[in-house]
């Protein structure tokens, strides 16, 4: 072969390899690219449909103060779903953690102790979920329906169905750190959400724990054959969901300075919808933190957007349900095409 012929071929090959590299990048991050596109489209749609609402800063302040309450739970829940598990009990754990908070605060008058005991309670409730799933061998969907009712019942029994005021802690430093305003317009909970998103991203993508979560969710048998401690990993994931739930429960209660024993009941659907809309597969092994983060903002915006464009709030559930069905089905269809 003479050199003149080889040269243009080499150039063509280089151009091809560049093209391949770009398509490869896009394909590898297809779900993330997809969720960013959906995010921008939904935003654009609301700006066009309800410019009076969506071009003013107030609505974004409202989003940043309410969305973190469920987004903070959606992040570790994403890890649980990637590991092939499901947790439906986090709504009740939010309330359970607050019971610990109120009881310890009554007994010690210390917000610090109350805060820590709430986090501890949430973590223990999560560990219990993990233990039931891993050691007793109950599918997590069923196990956590059980603990959801159990802990809600416990909350109602312990507090006799009554709520409790959080006005005495209104001026404490803890409340300012949790739900205060930074520089007048940025809610602290948004900063917490960003910090927790970064933390869970690092855990999932740059730590052994996260690597094992993906592997277990993909093929638990392979993971165990290669020496991964699948049981411990799964139990810890449930503990993280419990920890985040107690944290989110304190946050949303402090925001309104009152603890309702029904705390969390409105969060189940939107938290799950955030995870699935974000591209996490209900079959396990696939999912991203960025997807859930953006998914939670889309879900949060839909509720406000529906009202802003003039529909009744009744549409919210309908749309959440629709989103869950569509995003879960997409993975099933893609899986079928692969095999």
């Amino acid at each position: 072969m003479d050199i003149e012929k080889v040269k243009p071929e080499a150039e063509a090959a280089a151009a091809d390899s560049m093209k391949i590299r770009i398509t490869r990048r896009l394909r590898a991050n297809a779900t993330q690219v997809g969720i960013i596109a959906v995010f921008l489209l939904v935003w654009l749609f609301f700006i066009v449909a309800a410019p009076d609402t969506f071009l003013k800063p107030q609505i974004y302040n409202a989003f940043m103060s309410t969305i973190p309450f469920f987004a903070i739970m959606a992040l570790p829940l994403t890890m649980a779903v990637i590991a092939g598990e499901m947790d439906l009990s986090f709504t009740s754990i939010m309330a359970l953690g607050m019971v610990a908070f109120i009881k310890v605060f009554e007994a010690t008058n210390s917000v610090g102790l109350a805060f820590l005991s709430s986090l501890l309670t949430g973590t223990l409730a999560g560990l219990l979920n993990g233990a039931i799933v891993v050691w007793i061998g109950i599918p997590s969907l069923v196990a956590t329906i059980g603990t959801q009712f159990f802990w809600r019942g416990a909350v109602l029994v312990i507090l006799n169905g009554k709520g409790g005021t959080l006005v005495p802690i209104k001026e404490t430093l803890l409340r300012k750190i949790m739900v205060g305003q930074v520089a007048e317009y940025l809610p602290s909970q948004m900063l917490w959400l960003i910090a927790i998103a970064i933390g869970t991203w690092i855990l999932l993508n740059r730590h052994k724990f996260g690597a094992h979560i993906y592997l277990i969710g993909d093929n638990e048998n392979s993971a165990r054959l290669m020496g991964i401690n699948a049981k411990r990993t799964r139990i810890l994931v449930f503990a993280l969901v419990g920890l985040a739930s107690a944290f989110a429960g304190m946050m949303s209660s402090m925001q309104v300075s009152y603890f309702w024993p029904s705390l969390g009941e409105g969060y189940l659907l939107r938290t799950l919808a955030s995870v699935f809309l974000g591209g996490t597969s209900v079959f396990g092994g696939v999912g991203t933190i960025l997807g859930t983060f953006l998914g939670s903002f889309i879900i949060g915006a839909i509720e406000a957007g529906i009202v802003a464009i003039g529909l009744t709030g009744f549409y919210t559930q309908l749309i959440y349900g629709f989103i869950i069905i569509v995003s879960v089905s997409m993975h099933a269809v893609m899986r079928k095409r692969m095999h």
Partner: protein, 251 residues
């Protein structure tokens, strides 16, 4: 010299079922042992005891003369046992680099991953050992797109990467094409040439005979016979295998 691996009186029961009965087995240094036996003879259970996946109900395991207690997969891998499993033990939705380092991720002592190092190593292995040159495959490719032979290649390269002293191959030719099978048998010879030891399990007696120094025959959870391949012809070995299948022993 101590054996590379030695099992003494190993028994394994699953509830009422006794899968292995008083197995005595050894693997010498730089030796390839073929493990033969019918379905249900206990081949897979035996190797899963060696790899730490199953814990023996009774008996002792020695690595290089050292007694190993409470053996787990992670521990066995640290002791230099790498396995190419029949079921391949891959996570198909995950990337190539995650599969190469499955369960032995490169990380610091706090468990944080060195992702770049793992991708670089995977890239090197792809070019040097796996023979992937296509631009379509890279360390970030999900392995569900690979062919059966390529997936087997991933499982083998992974076993070699960690510089194992003992490589266990459990039915590695299953689902491979003729050409891929020949490549695999050559690969077993390379293990031997590199001074390492291997346990080779295969249904196909021709494959085993052609690469093993010694053949151990299992039957109904017990060692039924043991032959050096240089002392026995292939025809004789086959006769013995039939005898064992019919009577449970070769004498």
């Amino acid at each position: 010299m101590e054996h590379r691996l030695e099992l003494k009186n190993i028994s394994k029961s699953f509830g009422e079922v006794q899968s292995l009965k008083n197995i005595n087995f050894h693997l010498g240094r730089n030796e390839v042992v073929g493990l033969l036996g019918d379905n249900g003879a206990g081949k897979s259970t035996l190797i899963k005891v060696i790899t730490g996946y199953h814990q023996a109900s009774e008996g002792e395991i020695f690595f290089g003369g050292q007694l190993a207690t409470d053996l787990t997969v992670a521990k066995a891998r640290k002791l230099g046992v790498e396995t190419v499993y029949q079921e391949r033990a891959l996570a198909e939705l995950q990337t190539l680099w995650r599969n190469i380092f499955l369960g032995r991720e490169i990380s610091n002592r706090f468990g944080f991953l060195d992702v770049n190092k793992m991708k670089e190593e995977t890239n090197r292995l792809m070019l040097e050992s796996m023979g992937f040159t296509s631009m379509a495959v890279n360390p970030d490719s999900a392995i569900q797109t690979f062919s059966g032979g390529e997936k087997q290649g991933v499982a083998i390269v992974r076993a070699l990467y960690f510089d194992a002293e003992i490589i266990i191959l459990d039915e590695p030719t299953m689902g491979l094409s003729l050409k891929e099978t020949r490549k695999l048998l050559n690969f077993v010879r390379e293990i031997k040439a590199a001074g390492k030891s291997a346990v080779f399990i295969d249904h196909n007696i021709f494959h085993v005979y052609s690469v093993a120094d010694r053949v151990v025959v299992l039957d109904r959870g017990q060692v039924a016979g043991e032959f050096r391949t240089e002392d026995i012809t292939l025809d004789d070995l086959m006769d013995k295998m039939y005898q064992i299948a019919e009577t449970g022993s070769f004498t």
